[in-house]
Amino acid sequence: MKAYITRRLLSIIPTLLIVGSIVFFVMRMASGDPATAMLGASATAESIARLREQLGLDRPLAVQYVDFLLNALRGDFGRSYATGRPVAEQIFAAFPDTLELVFWGMLVGTLIGVPTGIIAAVRPNSIFDYASRVVALLGLSMPPFYLGILLLLLFAVNLGWFPVISTPQPGFFGRLHAVFLPALSLGLVQASFIMRSVRSSLLEVLQEDYIRTAHAKGVPPARVHYWHALRNALIPVITVFGLYLGTLLAGTVLTETVFNRPGMGRLLVGAIQQRDYPVIQGGLMIYAALIVVVNTAVDILYGLVDPTIRYD
């Protein structure tokens, strides 16, 4: 087990270098130039060329790439072209806000998605089942920014319970107050995914022979559903959590924009528009690391939920 975890965590390094390299080349293949973006339309070609020189963009691509790799191996992502500040500093300032949003979004998604999925599966074809499936379909089809604006209109503008600008405030409750609406907006969409996974997985397990046996030998239905069935139904759901982290992180981009939260999503969108290569590379590598870590955690959780899985 320990060897497995170590192996998985060590695999982060090549993964990151591959992700970094892909981002490095894709960004440079996309036209658009950081110097032009920074200096604006009135700048002459000469000033743009001078800035490219200062940023080291006039060097051969291979030299820039080797430079990037060596620095990345040392954990140095360089300095942002746009602000001149170290990329690591910018990422570490933005990352906690995004992580906070992702955590609460996932929690909201789980708290709504898992129970709804269970009830829908236990009472298939009931009114509750149909209603929850329709709502889930709505949640899946609705872009998070649209849901965000609807939530803002209701809770911030009409009821005045929450601020429109969800900038984190000091203190636990201050942060919670600010993150509530963004997390709800992100979590509701997530809940739709989770509800559907739980429902279909549980429905499948409930058809298994051992469930019929449990019912036949007189085990109370609640114990059959929540002890025997749910435990087995959750295994595929846990995989889904790992997979959905990517969509969740992508969802933060729009959620952060609509709720005006300063996080990684906004940092990356701004960097892409500005062609701020070091920030894009650093940010996406951090995302890749997060996804690898979470998926490793998911694999470990497997073993805890399902004793038949062994790591060698």
């Binding site: 002459t44 070609a45 000033s47 604006i149 209109l153 600008i165 906004r266």
Partner: protein, 539 residues
Amino acid sequence: MLTSKLRAVRGAAALLAAALLLAGLSVIGDNVAMAQTRHVLRVGSGVADVGTLDPHFATNFGEYPIVKAIFNGLVDLPAGTVDIERIEPDLAESWTISEDGRTLTFYLRRGVQWHHGYGEFTAEDVVFSFERVADPAVGSPWRSEVANIKEVRAVDRYTVEIELYEPDPFALLRLVGYHSGFIVSKKAVTELGDEHRFHPIGTGPFAFAEYNPRRSVVLTAHDAYYKGAPKLAGIEFRFMPDTATRELALRTREVDTADGDSEQIWVDRMRSQGVIVELVGPGNGYFIQYNLIKPPFDNLKVRQALSYAVNRDEIVQYLGTSIARALRSPVPAGYFGHTTEGIETYEYNPQRARELLAEAGYPNGFEFEVYISEATSYLPFAQLLQEQWRRIGVTMRLNVIDHASYHARIREDVNGVIFYNATRLPIADVYLSQFYHSDAIVGKPTAITNFSHLGDVVDNIDALIEQARSELNPDRQKELYAEAQRRIMAAAAAMPYAQRYSAVARQPYVDLGYDLVAPNQFDNLFEHYIYNEKTSINR
């Protein structure tokens, strides 16, 4: 019995009167307290972040109103106007211009203090500032704006002489607090180095306090400001790139003013909710340039045909009639030197367009492809023209790319038709020099934004632009500018079609501290509200 009742009533009345008096007094007290309270103004800025607060590098449109509140120039335009006839003293109290128009002498205001204890503003700072912008090693994007300055000399601590290569009737306008005209502190820039980018030291009504990446910039009142202590305690510029969020935050009063959306529907909706929406001029000019070296656009008749097929009224209708007006000249209306007199404006005439196409050898039209930015200030216009040209048989395929890529691609000379929109210093010279002078042709080291190749290929208008630039007689100068505009349109190098205002919004309790030129509309160079020492919140 009756007496005691009366007494009770009297007692109650006295109590009530006392309570009312107290309440009244407390209301008055509150009012006094309110009058004395200095509020922090919260601004919903339409950008996601700023890249610098150094005025000699600020190019992002969200950076302008911030640097304008922090810095001053030697001279300024009256707040709320771009009336170039009424340039006011700012850091310079007065000035003289030599007879040959080549030397400007500025007498500086004494006792002006830099923010955060950086001492007194002097002639040294002025010399340093202009030399800094002009220094190629510094790399300011505004360097071309000081190209006509030969030397800046400090005559004494409070006198500065600026010597020009050529006389320039707009020399003063080019020195207003805008782009290259902002004066920075020699001591602060030297001591802070790179830090100055996010720790600017100015002389303006508000001093820099903090920068929170992607969140806000906070300024505090500079009480030693030479025009008097600001009425506001400070300004917080909050970065809110999403229009819907800015709108909602303005409605819940989480921000007091905000950058708007230049769309008629937005303006009408906000006004119906009691928010004041103003339109800022002279406005963004929208035009296309034809690439004169790319077939079939190298054929004058093809260009003329396409221009005749553009229906300006339709475009203005799309934008909204209070937001936009038709543009008929290469220089936008409201800019010094703009004219439509004697100019071929290519009024909508699809019949003539079809005839010209046939004469050019394309009786059935033709197809071509252009790259176009996905930005809302580009793509919809390309789609409108796509539809208008389809009606005369010309098919324009749109290859939609992101905004940064678009700007890179058009500088690589790939498009036959280039869509562009721009706001510049409102004198014909800037537009003409940047878009139509041959030095500005893309691909050259001196390139700016001449995508048509006009100047190298067809009818050289360089001499006209240069002559006009140093012509001191305003009437003669206007004639030269008019001739330049006539030639650009005669060569069909460009097709200007619309001019669009920027919408800005505020709650009625925000008093800007200056008068607007017209109801619901005013002019400034920044396309945002400008906040000064007189700006206040009256709640």
